[in-house]
Symmetry: C2
Subunit: 556 residues, 2 copies
């Protein structure tokens, strides 16, 4: 019945796994399915294994009421289900590669011992950055990584009126949302001049708006400089000189790989300190594997090293390491991570897959881009909401290099489609004809992903000349706002004259044929239609891509 003969992989070996959560527990679980006879020992410093890191903010905010739900497995269940020898509250101190032993210490008793291994998997994760600033050791300053951190924050938050969150990445935003749900006053400080630095600035404005609407005080383009104790609470000093009085601080400014063991053992580290691993997650010592947040793999889009600190990669890398230990080169290699990620902030979700504009610029890639907005499902069916999608492609061959999205609904779906398209090495031409599921509650006959493909190809083929912000308009251009006058009345576009699109063909005489024209509308669709009319009537016509929705001079 099986497609191939059933092999026996059982090997009597001792596998030691350091770190018992996402990557480590996944590796150990898969290892057991590969071999009933292997001795599998999991070493975990903390009291908990297999917990849902990603759920921590939601217990603090009360959305996940039952703390127990976050412990997906316990040492006891891992024993009964998988016969794993889980040693929690045990720290790995040192690896002796020569002797094939790990020195471990029971953190309660302090007792140390040497544990022999045949194969070793490192999944120590990454620890929150805590820069050596004045006052960083003061009580009331927290980071969030595990259940204990969570408990402390939850307890402190119960007493606090005001919370300052430093760092507006995914975790910072989740915490901001949850603390607002708890009725706290929240200030969110971010060094760069936007939230979600993982995304491009034009794609996070809706998130910023939503945060502000829900009462979060956003302090962008300003960093933390130190902390002071006050009689009651803390004072956070920012680089700008601004001072924030608060009851507690949550630091979420990023993580650093836990590389101490690997470093001391002489394993190769990458430029940012991650443990270098090959496609089977093997380090430079073939008996030692490194997976998860602490490891570095290859970027499958442009090549080169990449380190992505996310749950999915950690889980699947752990599985790959186990496979390679028991299957050898018959194991499927890990294909690298592209960094698909998403966050919900109140009524908006936003996320990214693959490369952003920022990162492509850094990489020196000659890329094209478009931004489109359309409904998440058929506009005529109740509940349709706007979704905005940005895609980036390689100008040389049209290959999709990255996507970003925000909106109330359907953001995850479009990111997943784009992530799959990247995996399939699809070009933006091929996005045009993706045949996505359509019935009125779920989509549209032309999905936003198709529309993004159309728009990309209209740009790529020279069918329309794009302008991405009015500031970048060609010299001496006349800007024509083709929206209906009612819309213009609500929010005018600085420097534009209004000729509603349906009247355009009859009012060409109002435009100077000797000057370029830039058309702009609400979402980038009608501006494109208008530019097509103008181009065919001899104008040097440009269409604003994405419309007022993403135009900086309108958004600010």
């Amino acid at each position: 019945m099986s497609e191939k003969a059933q092999p026996t992989y059982a090997k009597k070996l001792r596998l030691v796994v350091i770190g018992g959560v996402a990557g480590g527990a996944s590796a150990a679980a898969r290892a057991r399915r590969l071999s009933e006879d292997a001795e599998i020992i999991v070493i975990e410093r903390g009291p908990d294994v297999s917990f849902a890191n990603c759920g921590l903010p939601y217990h603090i905010g009360g959305e996940i009421q039952d703390r127990g739900k976050l412990a997906l497995q316990t040492p006891a269940t891992l024993k009964s289900m998988l016969r794993l020898d889980v040693r929690n509250l045990t720290e790995a101190l040192d690896i002796d590669r020569e002797a094939h032993t790990v020195r471990i210490r029971n953190v309660e008793t302090g007792v140390e011992e040497d544990l022999a291994y045949d194969k070793l998997i490192l999944s120590p994760g990454a620890s929150p950055l805590t820069p050596p600033l004045p006052g960083i050791e003061l009580p009331g300053i927290y980071t969030l990584r595990n259940l204990q951190d969570m408990d402390q924050i939850k307890e402190a938050a119960a007493e606090a009126r005001h919370v300052a969150i430093i760092g507006a990445g995914f975790i910072g935003l989740e915490m901001a949302e949850q603390l607002i749900h708890l009725g706290k006053e929240v200030a969110l400080v971010e060094l760069v001049d936007q939230v979600l630095p993982q995304m491009d600035k034009d794609m996070v404005q809706a998130v910023e708006e939503d945060l502000r609407e829900h009462g979060v005080e956003l302090i962008l383009g300003d960093g933390i400089d130190g902390f002071e104790k006050m009689s009651d609470g803390l004072r956070a000093k920012l680089k700008s000189g601004q001072k924030l009085e608060t009851d507690m601080v949550i630091l979420s400014i990023g993580v650093r790989p836990e590389n101490a063991l690997a470093k001391a053992a002489g394993l190769e580290l990458g430029a940012r300190g991650h443990i270098v691993a090959n496609a089977w997650m093997q380090t430079t010592d073939p008996d030692i594997y490194a997976v998860g947040d602490a490891s570095q793999t290859t970027d499958p889009i442009l090549g080169g090293p990449t380190a992505i600190a996310l749950g999915g990669p950690a889980n699947r890398q752990g599985r790959t390491a186990a496979d390679h230990i028991f299957l050898g080169d018959k194991a499927q290699p890990y294909p690298g991570s592209i960094g698909t990620s998403i966050v919900r902030v109140f009524d908006v979700a936003a996320g990214v897959t693959g490369f952003t504009e920022k990162r492509l610029r850094q990489a020196g890639v000659d890329f094209g881009k478009t931004v489109v907005s359309d409904f998440d499902h058929a506009s005529y069916y109740p509940g349709a909401t706007h979704l905005t999608l940005k895609i980036l492609w390689d100008k040389a061959d049209g290959r999709l290099l990255g996507g970003q999205a925000f909106g109330a609904n359907g953001v995850d779906k479009r990111l997943d489609v784009l992530a799959t398209a990247i995996k399939g090495k699809l070009t933006v031409e091929e996005l045009e004809h993706l045949e996505l599921a359509y019935a009125p509650p779920f989509g549209s006959a032309k999905d936003p992903v198709n529309i993004a493909g159309f728009s990309a190809n209209n740009i790529r083929s020279g069918f329309v000349q794009p302008v991405y912000s009015l500031a970048e308009s060609p010299a001496n251009a006349q800007v024509v706002d083709v929206r209906p006058p009612e819309m213009v009345a609500l929010k005018a576009i600085p420097g534009a004259i209004n000729i509603p699109y349906p009247q355009l063909r009859d009012r060409l005489g109002e435009l100077d044929p000797a000057r370029p024209v830039v058309t702009i509308c609400a979402l980038g669709k009608t501006s494109y239609f208008a530019a097509r009319v103008l181009a065919q009537r001899g104008f040097d016509a440009f269409a604003h891509v994405g419309g007022a929705k993403v135009e900086p001079s309108v958004q600010q």
Copy 2:
């Protein structure tokens, strides 16, 4: 700024489009963007153009209150926006290919005229099947294709107590749902022994259950034989002899391509009467294009002809035809349709992309398959619901050939991911590592699509021997139900002995090592774990794939 020089496509030609809805209106709209100077005439028999066919059931059921929302465009808006010459209430009677003219008739005045064309696009759609049964012409028997049909059904339904729907495809199910919402008694009759014949039987049981739970009387494996008038209402006679007394009948047993014009003009038709079109949607006459439900293109998965009657393909084929008329061979060819479709029925959504098991069997393909169930998003985050996914692959190379899904949430997302994976010619191995967006409200660290990939590869590599239904168990097998006893108490699996998975390793002695063992659980996960334990202990072990959730002997 553009990637290529901006070409001028403007051609002074006369384009005539027959059919003014999905394919036709899309073709005409794109044609205008390609050429301001072309004369574009749209001929539509009915009063409406550009309406939302797919929304019709939801206006009947009252979900879409405003009828006007279904008219996406009108002749007037198409004129003001796109300068289209839309002639509604005008029927095309005949094509003179030699003379390049179409004979048209105003259906109100009866006046006929010959309309010259340079290029002709046919998008006449498909009409609902109305088999020549006794009584088929009786009042009270309806089909649903356009706004007029909708109005009639809505009016009749207001008076009806009982409605019989014949045909349980997508439209039949949507109508059943909407009529139940209106408080009607509904009987749903389907010739084959399952609803949604477009899907495999194992993947529609949840839909059938949901229909029954909401009060729909399901009559499966029985066809319609004729109708009789009663003093009050109608009697529908079924092939089995059963008689259904009802107030009205909705026939939704499929559609046939409107090929009369094409046939009379001598254009090549396919085996099922569709108009044969090449990759640019050109018929066997290079000046005539055919798109949408009436046309036939190439199946991109296995090759060979395919005709898919869905809104997305119609829209995009219309666009392709326009492109080819104005851009010639520089136009992107249409890549063929794979038939991604979805329906919501009360609390469940179900859908399919690519090939089903049924169709692969017909095509004689040697395929593998798996069915997995998991949560639509992180189990620990509120609102997680089960989702079931089936994938099918080519045994020769592991290439994904099709997918099906059902569940309360996230069905559309997984179908879209699988549709994109098919487009990218991904193998099931590659599904393992799709990097999909994960935060607790949206997904899991291992998405159900990843899990399907894992399971597929566990089967493909011979790591586990699959059994797809207990009836197909190997001869003399002992069936072991590894679920917890509490679950077994709720619904036992016929003929199985219960050894809960955590006890299995200690109770191997209860099994006969000389006989094969089939393990089964609720969803197919623990049975796999158990089979791995048994296989390594020398048993000829098989895991039931998909679990009790899809096992016929449990479901019936």
